[in-house]
């Protein structure tokens, strides 16, 4: 299987926003931002069929390690993929 690069907490955040689980443009104060991240992790876990702990536990980090398709999982704010 392809090599996997370790995912740290920071890159976990990048992963969640890269694949549409976290809206990087939302500017929220500390506590609200933390809640957003927690919910984003839960949403990703639900989509991936994992326990929805809201934590970046081993199982979740392992899945984030998996090689995958670069298209976002949640299309909503998919402004980045501009018309060709």
């Amino acid at each position: 299987a392809p090599v996997v690069a370790p995912v740290s907490d920071t890159s976990a955040m990048m992963y969640l926003s890269q694949f549409g689980w976290l809206d990087p443009s939302a500017r929220k104060p500390g506590s609200a931002a933390l809640l957003d991240i927690r919910n984003a992790v839960k949403d990703f876990q639900s989509f991936a069929g994992l326990n929805q702990t809201g934590e970046l536990d081993d199982e979740t980090l392992q899945l984030m390690n998996m090689p995958r398709c670069g298209v976002r999982d949640k299309i909503g704010h998919d402004a980045r993929r501009k018309k060709r």
Binding site: A1, P2, V4, A48, P67, R68, C69, V71, D73, I75
Partner: protein, 392 residues
Amino acid sequence: YALQGSRWKVRDLSYRITKYPRGLKTADVDREISQAFQIWENVANISFHRVDTVGSKVHIEIRFEKGEHGDGDAFDGEGGTLAHAYFPVYGGDAHFDEEEKWTIESYRGTNLFQVAAHEFGHSLGLSHSDVRSSLMAPFYRGYHPSFKLDSDDTNAIQALYGKRIKSVPVTTTKRPIIGAGNFPKKETPSTPTDKSKLCDDPKIDAIAHMADGFTYVFKGSDFYRLTENGVADGYPKKIRTMFGTLEDNLDAAFTWTNDRTYFFKGNKYWRFTDMTMDTGYPKDISDGFEGIPANIDTAFVWSGNGKIYFFKGDKYWRFDPSRRPPVSSGYPKPISNWEGVPNNLDAALRYSNGHTYFFRANKYWRFNDRNFAVDTTDPPFPRNTAQWWFGC
């Protein structure tokens, strides 16, 4: 499954691989990519064909790229992101990370066929699915020698394009699939194919690739649908039963980029949108095609410049709808400018593989847009129309 929200209107999609990976033979990549499209073609009413003509427009462009490659979504080297693709509304192209170890039928590296089949799901309008066993799940699941689509994938693609129409056999074809579109609801129950008239006398009045993705031949009071094996089941049918007040013994037909097909006879023409005649037709040719004479031999949209060409006798006219007047003063010009194309043609067609074909009596010629001359191949042109187009 999840649908992104856009899909292709046409059912016969063209694709070209414009940049190959280093680690695999070109022919192997071509085969794996073709089979990845075939996966979707086997279960839905959609077909694909490869176009190699450099520069011609295709629906889906496929490239193997490294790092940043111009679309703002840089690849990340081996592992991580393997590939990405654009939904139909964004163009449908598919890009693969050149730095992955792309492999074929191997447990090592990353299986090209499976990743390509996934990406083409996006090119057709599918988003990621949360069914872990589905092809459209975002995570690469390793090489599966006995790969098959999950019902989740099949339901998704059929929600967009409908089930596959049985008449077009499930095969990997050498020639491009002609189409797998839907004919208007009023299609009569299929009767046995009788192509004897075409095989005995392959001279045709007109030929056009229509909005439903099929290519149709018109001869006398009949018309025939073509598949990749020749004449489709249940044809010929009567023109008047399917095309309303359109007359028999047509002169010409072509489909413009707006998916509208124009038919010509004498000094009149008809317009069809999505296989249905528009109101207010027939019209006089001068009312919409000023500068074009009556009783033309044929008309087609040339893939070289997207303009409309009308041929009659030994002359031709170029009609450019975006110019005033649409036919510039230097026309008509001699057909001999189109090296190797004969005068007094019966029909012409820009086929879905991007080539232009000319038909006269029982022969046809394929035009090479780059050399601006009839293709010099082996076997040479002209070739036998009945054998190569009608499956006689």
